[in-house]
Symmetry: C2
Subunit: 119 residues, 2 copies
């Protein structure tokens, strides 16, 4: 029987907590991978895909931080953990934030970008 792990209600989102959660590069990497996918993803598969180079306890810690900030929803089903971004809730409380944080390149010319106009 799947059970949803503890998470804050959308009304109790805290911008400080959310920005602190997004301030970590590893957590942003997880968020981007989740953000690109519409469907929920198996935690283990996601981790294997992005390869953060961190230990299992640390990964688990990061998942928890994201979930307790309200950024993700995690459903435990047996030994499996399925996670997804709380898009609607985030959009309701902080419109455009996820797109601005996850959509922009980390550094100048990071990923494939438009790169036109403006000097």
């Amino acid at each position: 029987m799947p059970r949803t792990l503890p998470e804050p209600s959308v009304d109790s989102f805290d911008l400080t907590v959310i920005l602190s959660a997004l301030a970590d590069p590893g957590r942003r990497t997880l968020m981007r991978a989740l953000y690109d996918s519409v469907d929920p993803i198996d935690c283990a598969i996601l981790v294997a895909r992005v390869d953060l180079g961190l230990s299992n306890p640390t990964i688990s810690h990061h998942y928890r931080v994201l979930r307790e900030a309200g950024l993700t929803r995690t459903v435990a089903d047996g030994r499996k953990r399925v996670v997804r971004v709380r898009r609607d809730d985030m959009e309701y409380r902080f419109p455009g934030l996820l797109q601005a944080v996850l959509g922009a390149p980390e550094r100048e010319g990071g990923q494939a970008e438009a790169r036109e106009g403006r000097m």
Copy 2:
């Protein structure tokens, strides 16, 4: 003679540094006051207006963090410090980020907001 205090070039903006800078409530308060104003503001006047309840060294520290992240530009003229948001640079590197962070209410029903539709 006015001199601009050291700041990063727009090409060396670091999302981790910027989000960390914005993760502090006091710094966000400063940023909002700056963001609402089009013209540069005298640091002392700004601080007096928002009243963070912090010591002078701490305020100075926060100003420095914002500046070194690339969020603000500070010009020293005599004993006066004039600061403003680097809107264009931020918009170029992280479009929509400042609006998303500074425009949304900190908590549910924080400031005067639309509050319509959506349950």
